[in-house]
C-alpha cells in the first residue's frame, strides 16, 4: 500500500535531540489499587522532533494509552517529566492531585487530542462540537462560528456543520474530532488509537488527512496504535513499547537498515522455515536505491546458486521503497560466505535468522 499523497521525505537530522518538541524523561506511572501495584510506565524517555509523525506501537497493555495520557497530564505521572514545546507540564500540574489548575488547562488548549471512539458530544451539532474548545478559549460567538467553519472546511466536512454526530460515518466523526482538536491552533496533535475503530479504507483516508495536516500546518503528530500498517503509512519515527518500556525507537527508515531491529521485523514479517545443516536461510532488507536493483538474479547468476524465495514484502515507508525478503541458499552457512559477502557489498542489510548475532558476524568476517 503506497502511502497516499506523500511528498519526498524530509530527512530528519540524525542528531537533533536538542530541539525535541515533546520530551519525556524517565516517565513512570504506577497504579495502586488495594495494595497491589501495577507499573504501567517504567522509565520512558521519548524525543519527538518538531514536524514529524511519531508512532508509538505496542500490544494492548504495553502502556501506550497511559503514555499518551501522561503527555497532557490527563494521567498524573508518578515520577519523571513531560516537556511539550519547551514547557514542563509536570511542573505546571501543581500539587492538587486530580484537578488541573489554570496554567495546565491553558497548556492543554495548545495540545490537540483525538480519540479512538471520537468522544463527540451527541447533544451538539458538528459545528457545536468544534466550537466547544473555542468556548473554552472564550472566543465570541461570531469568532467561534467563523473558526469552526474554517476548521470543518480543512477536514472536508464544511457541508456537515449542522448535522449531528449520529448522522455521520466513523471516518466523518474522526474528521470532526480532528477539526475540534485543531481549534486551539496546536503545535502538537496526540492521537489515541484514532483509526482503530475504523475500516481499512477509512483508516487510510484519516491517515492521509493527518499526513496532510502534518505537512500543511507543520503539525507534530504523536500517535499510538497497535497496527503496524499505521506506522508504515504515516510515521517518520516510531517507538516499540513492551511492558511499560520503550524497547526500540528511532527513525523508521534507519531502523529498517538496522540488523536485528524488532520494529523492522514487525513491519515486514517474512515467513519461512529456518536454516538447518544443508541450507542457509538469509533475511535481506532492501532500502533506498538497492530496492530497484536485480540483486537476487545477480546473486544466482554470479555465484551459480539456486536461490529460493521463502517470503517477501515490499512497501513504501517514509516515502521510500523498502522491502524484506527471506531467501534460501543451498549448503550450510559456512559454505555460503561468498554469496553473503556479495549481498552485503550491494548495500543490503543481511541477517541470518535463527543464528545468534555473534555467529553471524564471525561467518561474515570469515569471507
Amino acid at each position: 500500500m503506497p502511502a497516499p499523497g506523500r511528498a519526498p521525505p524530509r530527512a530528519p537530522a540524525p542528531d537533533s535531540d536538542g530541539i525535541a518538541l515533546i520530551t519525556t524523561s524517565d516517565l513512570t506511572k504506577v497504579y495502586r489499587s488495594r495494595g497491589r501495584e501495577v507499573t504501567a510506565l517504567d522509565g520512558v524517555d521519548l524525543h519527538v522532533r518538531p514536524g514529524e509523525v511519531y508512532g508509538v506501537i505496542g500490544r494492548s497493555g504495553a502502556g501506550k494509552s497511559t503514555l499518551i495520557r501522561c503527555l497532557n497530564l490527563l494521567e498524573r505521572p508518578t515520577s519523571g517529566t513531560v516537556t511539550v514545546d519547551g514547557q514542563d507540564l509536570t511542573a505546571l500540574a501543581g500539587r492538587r492531585a486530580h484537578r488541573a489548575g489554570r496554567p495546565l488547562r491553558e497548556a492543554r488548549t495548545r495540545i490537540g487530542m483525538i480519540f479512538q471512539h471520537f468522544n463527540l458530544l451527541s447533544s451538539r451539532t458538528v459545528q457545536g462540537n468544534v466550537e466547544l474548545p473555542l468556548e473554552i478559549l472564550r472566543l465570541t460567538r461570531r469568532e467561534r462560528a467563523a473558526k469552526a467553519l474554517e476548521l470543518l472546511d480543512l477536514v472536508g466536512l464544511a457541508d456537515k456543520a449542522r448535522a449531528y454526530p449520529a448522522q455521520l460515518s466513523g471516518g466523518q466523526k474522526q474528521r470532526v474530532g480532528i477539526a475540534r482538536a485543531l481549534a486551539g491552533d496546536p503545535k502538537v496533535l496526540l492521537s489515541d488509537e484514532a483509526t482503530s475503530a475504523l475500516d481499512p479504507e477509512t483508516t487510510r483516508s484519516v491517515l492521509k488527512l493527518l499526513r496532510d495536516l502534518n505537512q500543511q500546518l507543520g503539525l507534530t503528530v504523536l500517535l499510538i496504535t497497535h497496527e503496524m500498517d499505521v506506522v508504515k503509512a504515516v510515521c517518520d519515527s516510531a517507538a516499540l513499547m513492551e511492558a511499560g518500556r520503550v524497547v526500540e525507537s528511532g527513525v523508521v527508515s534507519e531502523l529498517l537498515a538496522t540488523p536485528g531491529s524488532r520494529l523492522a521485523h514487525e513491519l515486514f514479517p517474512v515467513g519461512g522455515a529456518l536454516a538447518d545443516d544443508d541450507r542457509t536461510v538469509v533475511d535481506i532488507t532492501f532500502h533506498g536505491a538497492t530496492a530497484g536493483q536485480p540483486v537476487i538474479s545477480q546473486l544466482a547468476r554470479g555465484h551459480g546458486l539456486d536461490v529460493s524465495i521463502l517470503g517477501a514484502a515490499m512497501d513504501t515507508v517514509g516515502g521510500r521503497q523498502v522491502g524484506r525478503m527471506r531467501i534460501e541458499l543451498p549448503g550450510p552457512v559456512a559454505a555460503n560466505a561468498a554469496p553473503l559477502a556479495f549481498l552485503r557489498e550491494q548495500g543490503l542489510t543481511v541477517e541470518l535468522p535463527g543464528a545468534t548475532a555473534p555467529a553471524v558476524e564471525l561467518t561474515g568476517e570469515g569471507a
Binding site: 497532557n72 490527563l74 486530580h98 484537578r99 488541573a100 488547562r105 491553558e106 497548556a107 492543554r108 488548549t109 495540545i111 487530542m113 480519540f115 471512539h117 468522544n119 458530544l121 451527541s122 447533544s123 451538539r124 466547544l132 474548545p133 468556548e135 473554552i136 478559549l137 449531528y164 449520529a166 448522522q167 475540534r180 481549534a183 486551539g184 496526540l190
Partner: protein, 223 residues
C-alpha cells in the same frame, strides 16, 4: 353529592395540587440537581473526588429518601411554621414536599449524569476545560433526556406525596378524597377524585415522555 357540588371542589383541589407540585418540584430541581452532580463529581475517579464530602452528601440523601413522607411531614412542622408562618394549607405543604423531593431527584440526577461516557469528560479536560466546563457543557447537556425523564418521575412522586399532605390539612385532590370521599362515605366523589388524579399523572407522564423523545431524537442516527 351532585356534579354541581363536586365541580368547584375539584377545581380548587386540582389547582391546589398543581400549585403544591409545581413549587415543590421547582425547589427539588434547584436543590437536587447540584446535589446529584456533586455526588458524581466527588465520587472516586471524579474530577472533584472527595471521599468525605461524597459520603456526607450520600448520607443526607439516603436519610431523606428512606424516611416515610408522612413522618417527614410531621417532623418538619416546626420548620414549616418557621418558614411559612403556618403548618396548614397548600403553601405550608410545599416545605415538606420540596424537602422530601430534593434527595429523590438528586439520586435520579446522579444516575443520569453517571451514564455520560467518561471519554467525553476526558475530551473536555484534554481541551483545557475545567470542572465548570465539564458540568455545564458536557455532563448536563449529554444527560438532558435522562434528566427530563427523572424530572417526570419526580413530579409524579410529588403528586403522590401531595395526597398525603392532605392528611395534615394541606389541601389538594388527596385531601378532597380523604375528607369528602372517605370520611363522608361519598364513594362516587372518591372515584371522581381518583379519576382526576389519574388524568393529571397521565398528562405529566405523556408530556415528559414527549420531551424526552424530542431531546433524544437528534442522538439517534437518522441516516
Amino acid at each position: 353529592m351532585t356534579w354541581d357540588q363536586m365541580r368547584p371542589l375539584l377545581e380548587q383541589g386540582t389547582i391546589d395540587t398543581l400549585y403544591m407540585t409545581g413549587w415543590s418540584t421547582l425547589i427539588a430541581v434547584l436543590g437536587g440537581l447540584p446535589l446529584g452532580v456533586l455526588l458524581v463529581l466527588t465520587d472516586r475517579g471524579g474530577p472533584l473526588r472527595n471521599a468525605v464530602l461524597n459520603k456526607a452528601i450520600g448520607v443526607v440523601v439516603n436519610v431523606g429518601r428512606s424516611l416515610p413522607f408522612i413522618i417527614l411531614m410531621v417532623a418538619l412542622i416546626p420548620v414549616t411554621r418557621a418558614v411559612v408562618g403556618t403548618a396548614i394549607g397548600p403553601t405550608a405543604a410545599i416545605v415538606p414536599l420540596a424537602i422530601g423531593a430534593i434527595p429523590f431527584f438528586a439520586r435520579l440526577v446522579e444516575t443520569a449524569v453517571r451514564e455520560v461516557d467518561h471519554g467525553l469528560v476526558e475530551a473536555a479536560h484534554a481541551m483545557g476545560g475545567g470542572t465548570w466546563t465539564v458540568v455545564l457543557k458536557v455532563l448536563l447537556p449529554q444527560s438532558l433526556p435522562s434528566l427530563v425523564a427523572g424530572l417526570t418521575t419526580t413530579v409524579i412522586a410529588v403528586i403522590g406525596y401531595s395526597a398525603m399532605a392532605g392528611a395534615v390539612g394541606g389541601g389538594g385532590l388527596g385531601s378532597l378524597a380523604l375528607v369528602y370521599g372517605y370520611q363522608r362515605f361519598e364513594t362516587g366523589f372518591t372515584l371522581v377524585t381518583v379519576a382526576v388524579l389519574v388524568a393529571v399523572v397521565t398528562a405529566v407522564q405523556l408530556l415528559g415522555d414527549g420531551a424526552v423523545r424530542l431531546l433524544s431524537r437528534r442522538e439517534r442516527a437518522s441516516t
